[in-house]
């Protein structure tokens, strides 16, 4: 009996992503049929993946921040600022390496500023980053006089439109970020700290965790990820408009939430975010292929997100009830206190 309950608990934990995965498969199958196979061609799949990778990279950073109970609304503007900055730096130096380092540094600085504003001044993350969103957007316009900046030279474009074998470079980068984020969240001390500081800041403090520092690093992670997204975007375009990335943060947050990460913090997975981004990406692509009015695309996307979160909420509630229905009974007894009990935890 014990081992069966044990198995069930594990299964629920391990297969939490199954509904999202099924949804993705169903959408793909439907689109393949509805488009007479046009959806499932190498070209189109490559296209979807490349289009999704910029959002995926930013979404992974956002997952880290949201696990810590924070959120960053400034990433859309940051993407634009980093794009403008990297084109400028690239034009001046001609070096991709210097450009990448400069772009990531801009992200890191913005992350530190956001983090310090939130932790030192105690302004909440939404307000702080909403302000930062406006400030950065303004900086983007000011530095360019609201005009597009042209990339001079071809090497920067490699990170946007190049290929590694048959795989687009942005997809390769996104895969790297997926692995890195997975490692960070699941294998490192800092990952555990993120979940703790997001799940219950007071408890994390009571356990002696440096909660404020954890938050600052979380803001740096999300901003650096957004900067990387900005670099790739710059690489994809010959000329970079400072208006790029308006509303980007909301699409990213929507995908992360669709993937099961909670705004309240303490919960979230890399696999969920990957699926969330892919579902929205496939949906977008499908609606284009099916020639649906662009305005409908927005409506569909919004509806999917609300539906997904509602279903997720319902499932979590059911699951919690199930756990509660099996009260871990207190065993009353006089047995020696320090001797082993045939505990379920030792059964593998």
């Amino acid at each position: 009996m014990r081992s069966r309950i044990n198995g069930m608990a594990r299964a629920v934990g391990r297969y939490e992503q199954v509904p999202l995965l099924l949804a993705l498969i169903v959408i793909c199958v439907y689109l393949t049929i509805a488009t007479n196979g046009l959806f499932f061609t190498t070209d189109n799949v490559t296209n979807v993946l490349r289009a999704s990778s910029v959002e995926l990279i930013a979404a992974l950073g956002m997952t880290v921040a949201m696990v810590a109970g924070q959120v960053d609304l400034s990433i859309g503007s940051l993407l634009a600022v980093v794009g403008v900055a990297s084109v400028t730096v690239y034009n001046a130096t001609g070096s991709v390496l210097v450009t990448v380092l400069a772009g990531l540094a801009v992200g890191a600085v913005v992350g530190v500023v956001n983090g310090l504003l939130v932790t030192r001044l105690g302004i909440n993350a939404i307000i702080t980053t909403l302000g930062m969103m406006a400030v950065l957007r303004g900086i983007g316009y000011l530095t360019t006089n609201a005009r597009a900046v042209q990339t001079e030279g071809d090497t920067l474009r490699e990170i946007g439109v190049g290929y590694v074998g048959p795989v687009p470079v942005p997809v390769v980068i996104a895969l790297g970020v997926v692995l890195l984020t997975y490692f960070l969240l699941n294998r490192t001390v800092f990952g555990r700290y993120l979940y703790a500081a997001g799940g219950n800041p007071e408890a994390a403090r009571s356990a002696g965790l440096p909660v404020r520092r954890i938050y600052v690093v979380a803001f740096v992670v999300v901003a650096v990820a957004a900067a990387l997204a900005g670099l790739i975007t710059a690489g994809r375009l010959n000329s970079f408009q400072p208006t790029i990335g308006v509303g980007f943060e909301l699409n990213v947050i929507a995908a992360v939430i669709l993937g099961g990460t909670r705004l309240s913090g303490g919960e979230g997975t890399v696999s969920g975010t990957v699926l969330g981004v892919l579902i929205l990406g496939v949906l977008n692509n499908g609606l284009v292929l099916l020639d649906v009015n662009t305005f409908w695309q927005e409506v569909v996307r919004g509806t999917v997100i609300i539906l997904a979160v509602a279903i997720d909420e319902y499932r979590k509630r059911r699951r919690n009830q199930r756990f509660r229905e099996e009260p871990p009974a207190e065993e009353v007894g006089e047995e020696e206190p320090w001797r082993a009990v045939e505990s379920s935890t030792t059964a593998r």
Partner: protein, 503 residues
């Protein structure tokens, strides 16, 4: 004298159960017109429940509620007001952003024919009532600008606006200065002259002797005694409050503490918002308890020790080394551990697993280069689960799904797995835990002490302190007022010290 009058409010055989607690059991209570009747008892004796029943917040499971001799049924606080019973709670339910006048008439604002608020009448009536309670502020003042004492008077004015025949005051002086207390007492005198009956809930015995005509003592939800104030003494009241029996949940283990050893934890002059110049020390293997009433600063002392609350003066030293101030992280690095009072709010990450909660404080030591050594972690966690006999499906189970006792074991395990733990601060270690888990936790605390850890226990339960501690300090208003060795400590002298100034 009011003894001949018929009670204006009478409660007969009141019983009230909450899940797991028999809060009140057959309690009688009455208030006569013009009388001040005190309600006294330890934390958890049932005073608050009784007051809430008077106010119509709770409805009793058993018993009768009579006003002027007629039984009435209350469904809500509104019904209580309608029958002339008002309660001024400790935590005032007022709206800071509204004016004083609006607060006095909140929910019953006078209207004009158009349905808008009749400001002229509102302010005129409010002025009149404020004058009665002796509060000289403009009724249009925003309530948020008033002091706690002034807000209490506003609340009393509100009671008067509803033609209160009985006003119950829950710890009315807890936040008042000496002069403000005098003002309140004068008001009480004036109200009783007009025939209003007052229910006065307080821990401060000297106040009871000053203003009250009769005193009712509750203990464990039962009525213990009712006497005229003139016929009782402070000592007798204390005895009645604590009772005679010391329930021995857990036979005290006799530890051998080396009394000549230098202290492991040495606290000097610690001062924060709620803690005033507290000094004490604890030796390795010693369990030192802190007793005191609600609001005496127990929790705040624990938080100040661990660096969670800002301290403005004083020093915490651990084995001679000074622990840097105001940093829980550094406190933990120096070997301190802390288990907060409210494990769900402040102790556990409920959405996380048993494993994640348990290893939080030692994670860095279970890792190499920032990467968690999961095999090592697994060993530590399953060992702790086995040793503490935590009932769970697996280490991956969310702590939210555990019982209270098992949750508390998980928070204790967080520090037990720390090999170089030197000091453990426990705040209400067995609150809301069933009796069996309680004695297991007592046994655990004893084991921790045997390991050479200096243990500090904050508790509102005196039997708990008596069975756990080698020494017990008593806190009052954030200060240490007394210290007892285990051999000399009794519930009576702890309570007397906690009440203070009661002779």
């Amino acid at each position: 004298m009011t003894s001949g009058l018929r009670p204006v409010l009478e409660l007969r055989g009141i019983g009230k159960r909450f899940p797991g607690v028999h809060a009140l059991d057959g309690v009688d209570f009455e208030v006569r017109p013009g009388e001040v009747h005190a309600l006294l008892g330890e934390n958890g004796a049932g005073k608050s429940t009784l007051i809430k029943i008077m106010a119509g917040v709770h409805s009793p499971d058993e018993g009768e509620y009579l006003v002027d001799g007629d039984p009435v049924a209350l469904g809500s606080p509104r019904d209580a007001h309608a029958h002339g019973v008002s309660v001024v709670f400790q935590e005032l339910s007022q709206v800071e952003s509204l004016s004083v006048a609006e607060n006095v008439f909140f929910g019953r604002l006078p209207r004009t024919r158009l349905g808008t608020v009749d400001r002229a009448t509102l302010h005129r009536e409010a002025s009149r009532l404020l004058h009665v309670v002796g509060l000289s502020v403009d009724p249009a003042t925003r309530l948020g600008f008033l002091s706690v004492a002034q807000r209490q008077l506003v609340e009393i004015a509100r009671a008067l606006s509803q033609d209160a025949k009985v006003i119950a005051m829950d710890e009315p002086t807890s936040a008042l200065s000496h002069a403000e207390i005098e003002t309140l007492f004068e008001l009480i005198d004036r109200l009783t002259e007009q025939g209003v009956g007052i229910v006065y809930v307080s821990h401060k015995l000297d106040e009871l002797f000053r203003v009250c005509d009769r005193i009712t003592v509750l203990r464990d939800g039962r009525l213990v005694a009712r006497t005229a104030t003139a016929e009782t003494t402070a000592d007798e009241l204390v005895r009645q409050m604590v009772g005679r029996q010391v329930e021995s949940l857990f036979p005290r283990m006799d530890r051998t503490v080396d009394r000549t050893a230098p202290p492991l934890l040495d606290v000097t002059g610690l001062t924060s918002d709620m803690v005033r110049n507290v000094s004490f020390s604890v030796r390795a293997g010693e369990v030192v308890g802190f007793s005191g009433l609600m609001g005496s600063g127990r929790t705040e002392l624990a938080r100040a020790l661990f660096g969670l609350d800002r301290t403005t003066a004083g020093q915490v030293r651990l084995g001679g080394r000074v622990v840097p101030r105001n940093s829980p992280t550094k406190a933990a690095d120096h070997g301190l551990g802390y288990v907060p009072e409210d494990r769900k709010e402040h102790g556990l990450i409920l959405v996380s697993t048993i494993r994640d909660n348990m290893t939080l404080a030692v994670l860095r030591r279970l890792s190499r280069g920032g990467q968690v050594d999961r095999a090592k972690e697994r060993t530590v966690v399953s060992d702790a689960i086995r040793r503490l006999r935590i009932k769970a499906h697996s280490a991956e189970q969310k702590v939210a799904a555990l019982s209270g006792g098992n949750q508390q074991k998980v928070t204790l395990a967080r520090w037990l797995v720390k090999e170089d733990l030197k000091v453990l601060v426990l705040d209400e270690p067995t609150r809301g835990i069933d009796v069996n888990s309680k004695s297991e936790i007592y046994r655990l605390v004893a084991t921790i002490a045997e390991r050479g850890v200096a243990v500090v226990v904050m508790s509102s339960e005196m039997p708990e302190l008596l069975s756990l501690c080698d020494r017990i300090h008593v806190l009052r208003d954030g200060r240490l007022v007394d210290e007892y060795d285990h051999a000399d400590a009794t519930q009576e002298n702890l309570m007397t010290a906690a009440l203070g100034g009661a002779r």
